[in-house]
């Protein structure tokens, strides 16, 4: 509408004034005017009028033979009037574009007779190619955008660690350092639908959505990769962050018109609910159906799925899964093909674990992979991965724990066990030891006791040592990089029937390998309630916690090498056995549900998640001595996660150097701390000063107004009215008394 000078809209009189173009546009019907159904047949014999009819009938017949029914009426033949002959090509109009496609497929290159071969094109194609712009246009080169460094957080000048919190709908990544350096690094409301998870080396953060999993990375947490697995519930990274396993309760359904490609499930994947993805490319590698594990849960009967359902070897080369009772299937990566084209058939197999890779293995591998490295040719041999599995007692067969190596499939060691109820396999994180916790029953099957079968994997012939215990062991944990382990055992009659108000009494024991001999009890802490052991990732420090109890929630911080300065468990001889164990502190985090050491082993994070209960949800951070550094109570707090760190890049020698010069480093840090502290307190003091000044000013104004008001109302000021009683007190004090005798 044209603008009206005085801004008054003209009145609409009758229908002719109304503009219908928008409606017409909306309901406009596109008539099919395209020539998609027209094809051009080239290579037709050149004929004169007399033969026209016969030719057309023949062509129509040939087309119909191939399943494209046409009649001579559908064909139109252009005519050269000057010569009176045909031009050697013709047009065929078909019913639909699909028929045209079919006709091209069937008749293109058709040998009509000895001299003539048909060449068929779409009419629209000819037009398109005829009209094509022939000038060369240089393709625009997409500007290179450097991606953010995925490990930038490691370059933090203060060496701080990060942690993620998930509360209500908000996910936040925090820096954890000195009070002044603790800040939120990144925050995003509604980042995830279910929970968040860091990859094992801390590079990426996974968020879970209805549509699938997303990965994020870099300092500003940009999207890194996405995996379309609808209604995904669980995920698991491979140890080297190359692959991702996801599981959804709903089997994969490929809908018609769904997106296709290597990143999406294909019809073959339908009905499966486990998926393996390549993280870098985002490709779906393979899917599996889930086999429910044969073992019922402790609640009885209910079939539970084991998670992780696929277990990765430490170098990401193999992934294996167990078909309970039948076989272990090992798949090779990246092809995801079955290793050796067949599974390992093991009658009755229940569970297995891969041997982790120690620092030594990694160093060796790095050396072998280094170009021109010594003996690189000789070490081209595939590194063997080892796994341990166990089978229960069946009929006359004893239960058995077996170590098998891959890909050679040779059995390295096996051990028979008797009266076995249940086995659990625990690898020490360097792969030096394997502990099999064997729950055994007496002949009458009434009482259960426990044996620990410890395999020394690094020694020749894998010697096995047995530690016999009288009680039931509820938790077992190796010291990372160490030769010690801790167990929680209990002979409480209430064990197994946990109920509200029942706190199970437990004993905690530490064992240590005596040089060149056996594992020996280091110290036993009787009559505890602790049910959880958490070793610091650097070893030496350990936290014992009471979790899941309504009345107790104690944290005990222990140091196992209190008398030595060094980390790493190098024990001096001559010291009394077990003398280095020292309780550093006791703390309490009411109703805690999770606890986790930070990757450096300096701090412990504990949290009470609303997923378990709704009392005092929140999280706390403690130092290794049990001092509370931070406590945040938040309604609807859900998750607390430390960001893992990759392995250090420093060589052994460099680490030793640092340890040697620790004093100098600490002096520099202490100076920094002191400077910072004074800086912060100065700021804080200024802030408080300002607050007090504001308050004083406000109060002064108030008093003034009040005095005015009271004067106006004819009242005397309270304070003035109140007479100050002055009490005068006279005190006689005798300073000196001199008696003088006047001698006359």
């Amino acid at each position: 509408m044209a603008p009206v000078p005085n801004g008054v809209q003209p009145q609409i009189n009758g229908d002719e004034e109304i503009d219908f173009t928008d409606i017409e546009e909306k309901y406009h019907v596109d008539y099919d005017e395209s020539f998609e159904n027209v094809i051009v047949v080239d290579g037709v014999p050149i004929i004169d009028k007399t033969k026209l009819e016969r030719l057309l009938t023949k062509i129509a017949k040939e087309f119909s033979k191939k399943g494209v029914s046409i009649t001579p009426e559908n064909i139109s033949m252009p005519w050269n009037d000057a010569t009176g002959k045909s031009k050697g090509y013709l047009f065929v109009e078909l019913n639909t574009p699909e028929d045209a496609t079919l006709a091209i497929a069937a008749m293109h290159g058709f040998q009509f007779d000895a001299k003539h071969q048909f060449f068929i094109n779409r009419f629209t194609d000819i037009e398109k190619y005829a009209n094509m712009d022939e000038t060369y246009v240089e393709p625009e080169i997409e500007e290179f955008k450097p991606k953010e460094h995925l490990r930038s957080w490691l370059a933090d000048p203060h060496g701080r660690d990060q942690y993620a919190t998930y509360r209500n709908e908000d996910v936040a990544i925090h820096w954890h350092g000195k009070p002044s350096q603790s800040e939120i690094a990144y925050e995003k409301p509604g980042w995830t639908d279910l929970y968040v998870s860091f990859s094992p080396l801390g590079t990426l953060l996974a968020t879970i959505h209805r549509q699938g999993v997303r990965l994020w990375g870099g300092p500003s947490w940009e999207p890194y990769q996405r995996f379309a697995h609808p209604f995904v519930k669980l995920l698991d990274f491979s140890p080297c962050e190359n692959y991702l396993v996801t599981w959804s309760n709903d089997p994969i359904v490929v809908r018609e018109g769904a997106e296709q490609g290597p990143m999406y499930p294909s019809p073959e994947d339908e009905g499966n609910s486990l998926a393996v993805w390549d993280i870098k490319t985002g490709h779906l590698l393979r899917t599996f159906p889930v086999i429910p594990s044969e073992q019922g849960g402790p609640e009885g009967g209910r079939k539970q799925m084991q998670w992780p359902a696929l277990k990765w070897s430490a170098d990401d080369k193999y992934v294996a899964r167990v078909m309970p009772g039948q076989q272990i299937s090992v798949y090779e990566l990246p092809s995801m093909g079955l290793l050796g084209k067949k599974s390992v058939k093991i009658e009755g197999v229940v569970d297995f674990e891969w041997c982790p890779m120690g620092d030594k293995d990694r160093d060796e591998e790095a050396k072998a992979n280094a170009p021109g490295g010594k003996g690189s040719a000789a070490k081209k041999v595939e590194r063997e991965n080892m796994l341990a599995y166990w089978t229960p007692e069946v009929a006359n067969q004893p239960a058995r724990v077996t170590l098998m190596s891959f890909p050679s499939r040779s059995i390295l060691r096996s051990k028979n066990l008797f009266n076995v109820t249940e086995c659990k396999l625990y690898w020490q994180n360097q792969g030096d030891f394997l502990c099999v916790k064997v729950d055994r029953h007496t002949k009458t099957k009434k009482s259960i006791f426990c044996n620990l079968e410890i395999f020394r994997v690094r020694e020749k012939d894998f010697p096995v040592e047995v530690v016999e215990l009288k009680d039931t062991v509820t938790d077992f944990s190796w010291e990372p990089r160490g030769e010690r382990f801790a167990i929680v055992s209990s002979n409480d009659p209430n064990l197994g029937n946990s109920g509200p108000g029942i706190t199970i009494k437990t004993d905690v024991s530490f064992f240590q390998l005596e040089r060149g001999r056996n594992f020996k009890l280091l110290k036993s802490l009787p009559a505890r309630t602790s049910n959880t052991i958490r070793w610091s990732p650097r070893g030496r420090h350990v936290v014992l916690a009471t979790m899941g109890s309504t009345s107790k929630s104690e944290l005990e911080f222990w140091d196992l090498d209190f008398n030595s300065d060094d980390i790493g468990g190098q024990r001096k001889d001559g010291q009394e056995w077990g003398s280095g164990i020292q309780l550093l502190g006791v703390a309490d985090h009411y109703a805690l549900t999770d606890l986790e050491w930070d990757p450096s082993g300096r701090y412990l994070g504990t949290s009470a998640s609303v997923w378990r209960h709704s009392h005092e949800n929140g999280y706390a951070i403690w130092d290794f001595k049990g001092q509370e550094l931070l406590k945040v109570i938040q309604d609807r707090f859900k998750q607390f996660l430390w960001r893992p760190r990759p392995r250090t890049l420093l060589s052994k020698e460099q680490q030793r150097q640092i340890r040697k010069n620790l004093r100098e480093y600490s002096r520099a840090f202490e100076e920094e701390d002191a400077a910072e502290e004074s800086n912060v307190s100065a700021e804080l003091i200024a802030h408080r000063r300002r607050l007090v000044d504001e308050w004083n000013a406000w109060r002064a104004r108030c008093r003034e107004e009040l005095a005015e008001e009271r004067a106006r109302l004819g009242k005397q000021d309270e304070e003035e009215k109140e007479e100050k009683e002055e009490v005068q007190e006279w005190v006689d004090e005798i300073i000196e008394q001199i008696e003088e005798e006047v001698v006359e």
């Binding site: 009411y590 005092e616 408080r688 000063r689 109060r699 002064a700 008093r703 008001e709």
Partner: protein, 334 residues
């Protein structure tokens, strides 16, 4: 110092009050009795008997001569402090939820409950201070009905011309005592029921506590929120400490939920907050039920708390309380 435990009530405390000199402490509870104690040693001086319902609210005038009580038996009564005799009685259709004296004791304000078709009302009565106090007027000098959310707490403002109220919705308002017009209202002072309202000694600012887990300091004239003290538990009472820049806050898990939680979870502690820096300084525990009411001695030498557990605990501050300078030399003038 060890607190003095006053065991004079069989049911939960509703309100406690010091008199102006601070030598007497009046306590009211859901049982029918009102007690008065010597605050110094916790000896009971006497009782005020006569109510047939829970006593919801009490106040004492500046001379410690008259004492008023509001009760669930729909009466507001005037008592002689020294004799314990009932001097006068006003009767209403519904329970009296809150009472307060004016600064010079010649007026009282009360809130009656909204119930059984009766609107909640705020009434102001004149107190005839001459004679023996039995000659009072039955009729209020003003009466009005706050619209929308009902009032839960009230007090006279800077003078008797205004009344400050706290409401169920969390609103804090300033009414004209004569006309009942709302002069000012802060709808968003709190987000849940306002549970207590106590004025500063010179009445120029006041503190409110609320079930929304915060306590706030307001300007009496403008109703501007000066300070906020957030906690993690529903609050029942807040008081301003004289002489020291502190605010006392008390509360705890709702009484009906207490049995389902352990004592440690209930947070039945009196919290001390720095009035100006809005930082928590410390907590005093001892009650095993939520703290319903707090009062501070007018000279600031002691404070008392009354709990859902039926006990009143009188705490005399240690010498270090007066000397402590948790923030160094930065101290406000008053």
């Amino acid at each position: 110092m060890r607190p003095i435990l006053l065991q004079g009530h069989e049911r939960s405390l509703t309100q406690i009050k010091y008199n102006k000199e601070g030598d007497l402490l009046f306590t009211a509870s859901k049982d029918l009795r009102v007690n008065v104690w010597y605050s110094q040693n916790g000896e009971r001086l006497g009782t005020y008997d006569g109510h047939n319902g829970s006593v919801w609210s009490i106040d004492v005038d500046y001379e410690s001569r008259f004492f008023i009580t509001g009760s669930a038996d729909n009466t507001l009564r005037l008592w002689s402090v020294s004799t314990g005799k009932e001097l006068f009685q006003w009767e209403f259709p519904t329970a009296v939820k809150r009472v307060a004296f004016s600064e010079d004791g010649d007026q009282i304000v009360c809130i009656t409950e909204q119930r059984m078709g009766h609107q909640g009302a705020i009434r102001v009565f004149e107190i005839n201070r001459s004679g023996n106090g039995t000659n009072q007027s039955k009729e209020p000098i003003s009466m009005f009905h706050p619209i929308a959310s009902k009032a839960t707490v009230c007090a006279f403002g800077l003078d008797t011309s205004t009344i400050i109220t706290g409401h169920e919705s969390g609103k804090v308002a300033l009414y004209d005592a004569k006309t009942g017009d709302e002069i000012k209202g802060n709808q968003r002072a709190h987000s849940d029921v306002v549970t207590d309202l106590q004025l500063s000694p010179d009445r120029s600012y006041f503190v409110t506590s609320s079930k929304d887990k915060t306590a706030r300091l307001h300007d009496s004239r403008t109703l501007v929120v000066l300070k906020t003290y957030p906690t993690e538990t529903p609050l029942n009472s807040a008081a301003i400490a004289p002489t020291r820049p502190f605010v006392l806050i008390g509360g705890g898990q709702e009484a009906m939920n207490v049995t389902t939680t352990s004592a440690r979870q209930g947070k039945f502690e009196t919290r001390f907050w720095h009035k100006i820096f809005e930082e928590e300084l410390g907590r005093v525990k001892g009650h095993f039920g939520p703290i319903n009411t707090l009062a501070v001695h007018p000279s600031g030498k002691s404070y008392a708390s009354g709990g859902e557990d039926g006990f009143v605990r009188v705490h005399h501050f240690d010498e270090s309380y007066f000397r402590a300078k948790p923030y160094g030399d930065i101290e406000p003038i008053d």
